[in-house]
Symmetry: C2
Subunit: 317 residues, 2 copies
Amino acid sequence: MSHDHLPDFDQIRAAAARIAPHATVTPVLRSAALDALAGAELHFKCENFQRGGAFKFRGACNAVWSLVGDEARAGVVTHSSGNHGTALALAAATRGIPAHVVVPEGAVQAKLALIERAGAVLHRCAPNQSAREASAAEVQQATGAQLVHPYADDRVMAGQGTIALELLAQVPALDALITPVGGGGLASGVAIAAHGLRPGLPLFGAEPAGADDAARSLAVGERVQSVVPDTLCDGLRALIGQPNLAALREHAIDVITVSDEETIAAMRLLWRELRIVVEVSSATVLAAVLKSGERFAGRHVGLVLTGGNVDLDALPW
Amino acid sequence: MSHDHLPDFDQIRAAAARIAPHATVTPVLRSAALDALAGAELHFKCENFQRGGAFKFRGACNAVWSLVGDEARAGVVTHSSGNHGTALALAAATRGIPAHVVVPEGAVQAKLALIERAGAVLHRCAPNQSAREASAAEVQQATGAQLVHPYADDRVMAGQGTIALELLAQVPALDALITPVGGGGLASGVAIAAHGLRPGLPLFGAEPAGADDAARSLAVGERVQSVVPDTLCDGLRALIGQPNLAALREHAIDVITVSDEETIAAMRLLWRELRIVVEVSSATVLAAVLKSGERFAGRHVGLVLTGGNVDLDALPW
């Protein structure tokens, strides 16, 4: 069964019920100092406290528990440079099935260690999209494991969308919402969920200038696949998926690009003012709000902080 | 009116009501990885998310709002190398009164910046206890401000004690509780509150080996004031106060000493596994639990993480 299409709102509500026994309801943190800097009321949804240290557990868990009957037995396989791999391994463990993770050479060491600790079988491959997909297909063939794509998968997007259900229940007064944009699994799931509850809620994405394929794709009206990612944001190097781009367009997500310098400065601010450990990709959302001044002035903004898996010996400042 | 005596349980309940409009109800975080390391169920009370980034806001806020009538007008004064100074300034601001903070030379720069940002008037002094106290007395004389001692003050201890009321409501099943021990304001407030609710609950303290005056004082039965603090734990260099030592004894607090190396290793674990920014003093509690093996085995342990004000450019690893 193919899964490379968008979920609907009901699927997201079903996902919320499905993952509830396993996932963490993450807290929303605030900071008077950051509010003052932004001239807005900022509500940070802290998915760095999610199981495995990233929002990815939601989508992976929903995918794993969506498998029916014999599908589950041979386990699951994915390709991931980091958090989705850990998430899938942890999710598979909650069901007692194996997880295979194809990891590109050059991935962040701290994240690889987490994937292994979570109990996955690692398979190395060259660091490019086609090698990743070919390698995953091979493993799938050899083991019979079910493929769970990191973002172009309706079950995964539905799981990520549960963040918006949770956040809008925690902070009903939000009048804007922003997530990082990589492959687009989070942005599309959140968009479908948020507009299911609050049609017309203004939605934003934050994308590294060095991996701005989503912004370009929206500008030209079709998937731009020529971008060679050049950004410190290791979680946002994936090119936007096909169904994901469709969701960005359909939900009028305004993608703001930010430089790595802006993102690193925002990351420091988050560590200092919120006293939390978040990875660099997470900080794109604060960087985007801070550089957009008027656009967010006076608003109640929800910002999704995506993860906290950082190499503490290699901080980017 | 003198305040260098212990509060009773009713005072702590009154403090909880008094500070409720101003203080943050801080979350309790857990980690499967840390539980596995400790062989116990660890519940981390995250006061790094308290206003001002440390538990000290509770005591300072209770003291400021305990002032009656004309007492408040001239403001408050204290001596503090860090978090208590920020806390008192923030608390004074909630009541619209001035705060004077005497700071010893050599205090952590990141903490001084926070005190200033919180709106206090800074007064420098030599880095020893008698200079601190003399300087605070001078300011008190000159301005008419009320002294709020960082730990040997019943209003401050009562405020810190509210942590235990909150934590035991959040995690009723706790069967052990541990806090860092510096001047002892936190340890004594928590002891009175915890035993008010749960007489006989086993209580522990964690103290740097290089500032082990509380452990020594308990051992010899009187205040040992000859210890010259030599520890990276800047929040725990104060010598145990007189009423505070009495509380440690009365409530049979078992003080465990930890080396700075053990504490730094524990600090890294907290950052990595909980994905939070905590200062080095906070990590003494995890270091103490990890080195005590059998003593905590299988227990449900509450650990108070005291603060998160860290110089991100000078991490101790």
